[in-house]
């Protein structure tokens, strides 16, 4: 019984160590592949990401499986993915072979049926995607393009587009982009650098508001030195 218990403990410990190693490897792999959200992934990138998770789960669950036999395919997949993405950046031709090209499904307001057939896209699929973009009438669309990652881009006809400030000849004030300089009492050096200010500048604002750094929940600042502060709620 004792041996059995020891055996179980050892197996669980091995599973924990293996899981940690695989977790670190997956994080490293995804970091190497670059920051992108699932919806922005190209089909090949999505497949590689799914494959990596699938491969990692085998040695994680089955301790009799060697860890390297899971790690090596992961390493190869990540390396191939990086090499492919570099080649795609270097060569447009290569990119077209791997990712295909964007296809125009509505051109000058007319549905391109042959392209839709090629994409095996039904009119229901198209109207569903248009509805998700707040377009409920085909006649409002001038151009609709299916991008290489499968997303639909839509250009509405001029009469259905919202006028911009420029169209209305209205001059809007450029407020600049707000960045979080203090989050939960922690100062962000990157944000300070981005706003082209010093730490002292931020501390001066805080002292003028009779606040300490730890009292701030969120402080945002922009290049025009406009700031907003939300105080931390006391527990």
């Amino acid at each position: 019984m004792k041996i059995k218990n020891n055996g179980v403990v050892i197996k669980v410990t091995i599973a924990v160590i293996r899981t940690v190693i695989l977790y670190i490897t997956i994080m490293f792999a995804l970091r190497l592949m670059g920051k992108r959200q699932i919806s922005q992934l190209q089909p090949s990138e999505l497949v590689v990401t799914l494959l990596i998770s699938d491969i990692a789960s085998i040695p994680m669950q089955n301790t009799s499986f060697s860890l390297l036999s899971g790690l090596i395919p992961m390493i190869i997949l990540v390396a191939c993915e990086i090499i492919m993405s570099v080649l795609m950046v270097k060569s447009g031709k290569f990119r077209r072979i791997i990712c295909g090209r964007p296809l125009i499904v509505i051109e000058n307001g007319k549905i391109n049926q042959s392209e839709m057939k090629r994409l095996r896209m039904t009119i229901e699929d198209l109207s569903e995607q248009l509805r998700q973009m707040d377009v409920f009438d085909f006649s409002e669309v001038d151009f609709a393009i299916v991008e290489t990652n499968g997303k639909l881009s839509v250009l509405k006809k001029a009469e259905n587009q919202l006028p911009s400030a420029k169209d209305l000849s209205v001059k809007l004030e450029d407020k600049g982009m707000d960045t979080v300089v203090i989050s939960d009492g922690e100062l962000s050096d990157d944000s300070i650098k981005f706003c082209k200010v010093t730490k002292d500048f931020v501390f001066n604002i805080l002292s003028s508001q009779h606040l300490k750094q730890e009292d701030v929940f969120i402080m945002t600042l922009n290049k025009k030195k406009n700031y907003k502060i939300i105080k931390r709620e006391k527990a």
């Binding site: 190497l32 670059g34 301790t63 009799s64 499986f65 060697s66 860890l67 390297l68 036999s69 090596i72 390493i75 190869i76 990540v78 390396a79 191939c80 990086i82 090499i83 570099v86």
Partner: protein, 126 residues
């Protein structure tokens, strides 16, 4: 550009691991196969003390290779060979020579299987 160097480094590491595994498997096969043949011959001529010595050497070699091979090969497969080695030793102690010979043959088949499944061949790739 840094990423492509990392990718290439990863590929080089993977290839190095593959070559290392291949060499290790071949070395293991050659060494153990020769030793198993010697043990077999010594049992046939009833030189049990030499067979015992050879078996000790065999076990030592197997332990050495098993540690490295377990990084690449399923532990279940290696465990089977482990069991067969234990059986050879106990059968030799009990004087069950026929069982020893059949167990040696079993180990030979097992290490042959390890070599064959780890070999870079069209059969294994497909």
């Amino acid at each position: 550009m840094k990423r492509i160097w990392i990718a290439l480094a990863l590929i080089v590491i993977a290839i190095a691991v593959c070559i290392g595994e291949h060499r290790l498997t071949v070395d293991m096969y050659n060494e153990l196969n020769e030793s198993l043949e010697n043990t077999k011959e010594e049992i046939k001529v009833k030189d049990y003390s030499k067979a015992n010595e050879e078996l000790d050497y065999l076990e030592e070699s197997w332990d050495k290779y098993e540690k490295s091979l377990s990084m690449f090969i399923s532990h279940d497969i290696l465990h089977q060979t482990d069991l067969s080695f234990a059986k050879i030793k106990s059968n030799l102690k009990n004087g069950a020579n026929i069982d020893v010979l059949s167990e040696i043959n079993a180990v030979k088949i097992q290490i042959d299987g390890i070599k064959e499944t780890e070999e870079v061949s069209v059969k294994n790739i497909l």
